[in-house]
């Protein structure tokens, strides 16, 4: 039904979700190995891009993958796709790391997450959402994709991004708005 990116040997979203399920229920190390070989190098690159030095990026990528093992039973395909779930783990561990650097007291706290109660139809909606987001990203212009990426990979507010790109703030804002608008049209198209 919903086809997520399917290349040679690259697991699609359903396959990744199934692998996480096997880690959760059977502590299946082969499934874990596949998840690791797919996600760890991507996490490593993703974390570097978001400004971490290479050693740190690799350490946190490793931590994320250990969290995947520990928390596999909390993965809920009704709330997020596999890559999205792993992205949020990486995001939270990166925030924790940066805060530990800033504050002497090493807090064990994770950022506040909002609990939502998944309903019967959210599973389908989640798969749809993930697929539609990917579709939408493909249709963005280079300029729109650039500001969207900058929003993800830098802690700068859009006003600062605008200064750096030498663009008026309004231009940056409108590119983000267009990019997100396209996402929204696709996301809402099914309701």
């Amino acid at each position: 039904m919903t086809r997520l990116m399917k290349d040679d040997g690259v697991p699609d979203g359903d396959e990744l979700a199934r692998l996480i399920g096997q880690v959760a229920t059977e502590r299946d190390r082969q499934a874990y190995a596949r998840l690791y070989s797919y996600f760890a190098p991507r996490l490593n690159a993703f974390l570097r891009r978001s400004g971490l030095p290479p050693n740190t990026a690799e350490e946190i990528a490793q931590e994320v993958m250990l969290s995947v093992w520990r928390k596999a039973s909390y993965f809920d395909p009704a709330r997020a796709g596999a890559a999205t779930w792993i992205f949020t783990i990486a995001r939270n561990l990166r925030i924790d790391h940066l805060r530990r650097l800033r504050t002497a007291s090493a807090g064990e706290e994770e950022p506040v997450e909002v609990e939502t109660a998944p309903s019967g139809e959210t599973l389908l909606l989640t798969a749809e959402r993930e697929a539609r987001v990917r579709e939408a990203l493909k249709t963005l212009s280079d300029e729109q994709a650039t500001v969207l990426r900058l929003s993800f990979f830098s802690e700068k507010a859009h006003s600062e991004i605008a200064r750096e790109l030498g663009l008026p703030l309004g231009t940056v804002k409108s590119r983000v708005r267009l990019a997100l608008g396209r996402l929204r049209v696709l996301l809402e198209g099914h309701t």
């Binding site: 190995a33 805060r99 987001v133 969207l148 993800f152 802690e155």
Partner: protein
Amino acid sequence: MTIRHHASDESLLRYAAGQLPAGPARVLAVHLATCPCCRERLAAFEAVGGALLEATAPAPMAPDAFAAALRAIDREEAARAPATPAPTHLEARARPRAPVTLPGGIPLPAPLQDCEIGPWRWIGLGVRASTVRLPEDPEARLTLLRVGPGRKLPEHGHVGTEFTQVISGSFSDGFGRYGPGDLSEMDQEIEHQPIVDREGDCYCLAALEGSMRLNGFFGRLVQPFVRL
């Protein structure tokens, strides 16, 4: 509660990306806790993160990284046997203490329950303020404001974006009326003067990205105390 003022795309995107500073991020967390509509938008932006992660060209890990991961797992499993399920982060965070309430018995929003709420200080003209300390970032500037009916918040402009989430009561400014659950995001360089509606006290949670300049004599008087 009908929510009329929502988080901006920019803020939700930065929250999803983990790029919003701790103070504004908590204000958004309080809004998200009451707003299913923004939660849905957040889920979409997090899916953007998932898609970007998958689209990232891989950077190889050290050759022995996977073996090291398995060793770490073996150590943990050995230490933990017989297996007890790890508490979820939500359980782990739950503190065995009575829920904190604000004066007047107004419950403190759940996403603030792990914060240290400072004493209320009178800062003039019907305005009281209390500093909220975040366990994960003691430097973050987050303030609870309690403003009396019909009172003005100090007139101010700011250099970054100001995030104000209404917890109870309501205020109005040139941009509309803000009631419980509403989030006001004021861009930089906008001067606005919120006035609390006549019905009663207004409690709100405010954080600022960047710094604020308060105008006039009153502003200069208040600035050292507000720490907005």
